[in-house]
Amino acid sequence: MKERDFPLIFERSTPGRRAHGLPEADVPEVPLGSLVPTEVQRKAPPALPEVSELEVVRHFTLLSHRNFSVDQGFVPLGSCTMKYNPKVHEEVARYEGFSRLHPYTPEELVQGALRLMGELGEELQELTGMDAVTFQPAAGAQGEFVGLLMIRAYFARRGEERTKVIVPDSAHGTNPASARMAGYQVVTVPSDGRGNMDLRRLEAALGPEVAAVMLTNPNTLGLFEEHVDRIAELAHAHGAQMYLDGANLNAMLGITRPGDQGFDVMHANLHKTFSTPHGGGGPGACALLVKRHLEPFLPLPVVRRVGDRYALDWDRPHSIGRVRAFYGNFGNLVRAYAYLRALGAEGLRAVAEHAVLHANYLRVRLAPCYEIPYSRVCKHEFVASGIRQKRRSGVTAKDIAKRLLDYGFHAPTVYFPLIVEEALMIEPTETESLQVLDAFAEAMIAIDRESQENPEVLKTAPHTTPVRRLDEVRAARYPNLRWEPEPRRCMG
């Protein structure tokens, strides 16, 4: 470690120091060897840090200061929906009745938890126009995998073998990866000049071997698929199923429902639209919603209302099985339901309206300085491009992103979707104020000016962050994925 490096917890370690307050055993002492044979016992202790509780508290508090989050500032990451995470969520999720509940507690003793899942499911079905739900997938990508396995099981039951899944070229990378994991071949269909899926190319790709069309709507350009019902018609005419990647559901709440657009399966990322915190990359939570004909294939078990009680239904002979142990990321279901109950129907519609209002406001404010490749009314996000800046002074989207960090903002999503050069994908969300949106727009305008007057300041950005630009190539070429204890030096 160099003087200027921020220490690792291992580098704060002093042999013999302790932070835990564990008791001695309160049962009669018997020789350990009589309980666990010596040959299966561990020989050397793990090299975990030996630190005091204060050292742990201080280390991780200081680390938290080196992290950027919604609680500190604007995170306009497109397709991530980094809205405010209400504090009431944390309060209720920590109620012992939820947080200390064992998953194998008998059904009659977990009625509150099952009721919560049951009611959340009912609300989400109404919100999306779908007929049945499971919360078992731990995240959206796992939901895609489950949805595709259910489609596979559906066709198998009909005696059909279909081998292909169609995804647009603007799709999230998880879509093709999930299709592949479910054993499908991926067919990519390009977008047209308005940013919709190219209908003619779709028609050409459809056929009896296509199991599903996976769409994101609004798509990753932030645009509503204008022919979504026509796409569904075409797919259904060929017997294929329609899958909705619900990452962008925030723009549709109370306005239009995927079930009415013709989708057969969809996932909702509860950590996006329903405002459970992202936790630095997880846990997420997923609601996988399906139309009636796919219900028999839902993973085990399914929460079912029986009179005024709720039960776990295990008797489902056509189920695809399980994709994780227990019932899903329950803790985040509590948060998502708290969000739904705080807002209600009108509140949710207002979320969509303001998410879209804020995105269009920013789009219009940035349009004089940045190329907006698909300049029509966007939904909750839009894609700008740094192509003008690049042509003018060699400044890239990455440079613009890094410079934004100096202005106190998190950067937008960059280089995605792949079909826009120097893409900067911006999603402001409904929870940011006009003042924040204006400050961000002014920073972007100032960066554009800098790119003309002093491009070097962008190419070497960021300048004010805890560390400067990091060498990612070196990290990949010489992987250093864990700390190694240094050989002990002689004392004195």
Partner: protein, 447 residues
């Protein structure tokens, strides 16, 4: 409007700037025929006090581990969690951050991830760990997928002493890939080496065993690993409670090639089964086949140490359908809690928790064994769980004991129909001798 700061005046200003008359105009691109023509039929919104009240009522309907003394385990464990763990993990800077796509402003998460990877490697004695997967069960399925890719073989041999839900998940994940899953029946709660040896052949990609196993039994992983390796298969070790490796020989020392573990016991609450934490660790030579995110150390423009997400060319956002998996969101916050937990425990603490578990469980096991009508189902050493043969169906015992304030364990009939009178009982360091003595008395009463 809840959580929306925009005032009517500001709204009007924004609409003017955009050049539209109303909010409605912003949705003109949505065809009329797919518009919702009525308000959503949802439950009415709740004020904050009503919200807290109604969620409190839902929570109070549940018999949680604060109300019933918890002797249930089976993959979800009531270990003690030092308060510092979640007071720190819940800091908004960690809780409300996104995936560290901009490393310069995410050093907190990234460094914690690097520390997590190191601690997992130390606890398991493995060379490399990723920055977390969803849970132990899906991590095991990913491990089997790795074994298939690495060996180019299509058959896995799995002991039925592996958690039944983990086995179900392995089957779900592998079914679409044409992998054959061969289950080797346990014998008296342990994995019989000879049967495994007979089941393994040159088509076998992996042998999968759990340590300690689903029944709480301590396996002989060294020998099972040798059986796998002799056939050119990988040895995949699952664990539902890696704290056991505070005392038991860690996977890396007994020849494990891939380890898939459940990290909930490391500082994460029960949460009715989730979120939990999928741990995946392997050899450095397999790292490019490993799914999930990895944090690596590097330097910044001034030569200072810093951390980034690395080897991303394996991942779905770059490789798309050729990626090693589709994992995008992981369980970072739970990995952070595990990092805090292991920092607070240190080498002395993990050893002590493991010892307390085994000593206390052994005390209860002996007391239950001496109760009339009850028996210990399987011989052989156990860690913090053991199977009790009950005088009445285990489901009935659990129901009766709940009346007395105990969650008596997990009845095994649902998973293993032949074990309908068997109860899986777990004792962690959180249980006191007094609780165990009262539990024994209550068991005696319902015999």
């Amino acid at each position: 409007m809840r959580y929306i700061p925009t005032t009517p005046e500001e709204r009007a200003h924004m609409l003017r700037t955009i050049g539209v008359r109303s909010l409605e105009d912003l949705f003109a691109d949505i065809p009329e025929r797919v518009r919702l023509q009525r308000p959503l039929r949802l439950r009415p919104p709740l004020s904050d006090p009503d919200l807290l009240r109604s969620f409190r009522a839902l929570a109070d309907e549940n018999a949680h581990a604060g109300r019933l003394v918890c002797f249930a385990g089976a993959g979800a464990y009531d270990h003690f969690i030092p308060p510092a763990v979640w007071q720190l993990a819940s800091r908004g800077e960690f809780l409300t951050a996104y995936t560290p796509y901009q490393p310069e402003v995410s050093q907190g998460a990234l460094q914690a991830g690097y520390e997590y990877q190191t601690m997992v490697c130390e606890l398991l004695s493995m060379e490399v760990a990723n920055a977390s997967l969803y849970d132990g069960a899906s991590a095991l399925a990913e491990a089997v997928g790795m074994a298939r890719d690495l060996t180019q073989r299509n058959r896995v041999v799995v002991s039925t002493a592996v958690h039944p839900e983990y086995r179900q998940v392995v089957r779900t994940y592998t079914a679409s890939l044409g992998v054959e899953v061969v289950e080797v029946p346990h014998r008296e709660g342990r994995t019989p080496v000879e049967t495994v040896a007979r089941a393994v052949d040159e088509r076998t990609a992996a042998v999968v065993v759990q340590q300690p196993n689903f029944f709480g039994g301590i396996e002989d992983p060294q020998t099972l690993g040798e059986v796998a390796h002799r056939a050119g298969a990988l040895f995949v070790l699952a664990s539902a409670d890696p704290l056991a490796f505070g005392l038991l020989a860690p996977p890396g020392e007994v020849g494990a090639d891939v380890v898939a573990a459940e990290g909930q016991p490391l500082g994460n609450p029960l949460n009715f089964g989730g979120p939990s934490l999928g741990i995946l660790a392997t050899r450095m030579s397999f790292v490019r086949r490993m799914p999930g995110r990895l944090v690596g150390a590097t330097v910044d423009a001034e030569g200072r140490r810093g951390f980034v997400l690395t080897l991303q060319t394996r991942e779905q956002h770059i490789r798309r359908e050729k990626a090693t998996s589709n994992i995008c969101t992981n369980e970072f916050l739970n990995a952070l809690a595990a990092t805090l937990y292991l920092s607070l425990l240190g080498p002395d603490g993990v050893r002590r928790v493991a010892e307390l578990c085994v000593r206390k469980a052994h005390y209860l096991k002996e007391r239950v064994a001496s109760l009339p009508g009850y028996a210990i189902a399987f011989p052989g050493p156990t860690f913090h769980e053991f199977v009790v043969r009950t005088p009445r169906p285990a489901e009935e015992i659990v129901r009766a004991l709940a009346e007395e304030g105990f969650l008596a364990g997990v009845p095994l009939g649902r998973f293993h129909p032949e074990l309908g009178d068997d109860l899986l009982v777990c004792v962690t360091e959180s249980r006191t001798r007094e609780e165990m003595d009262r539990f024994v008395e209550a068991l005696r009463q319902v015999a």
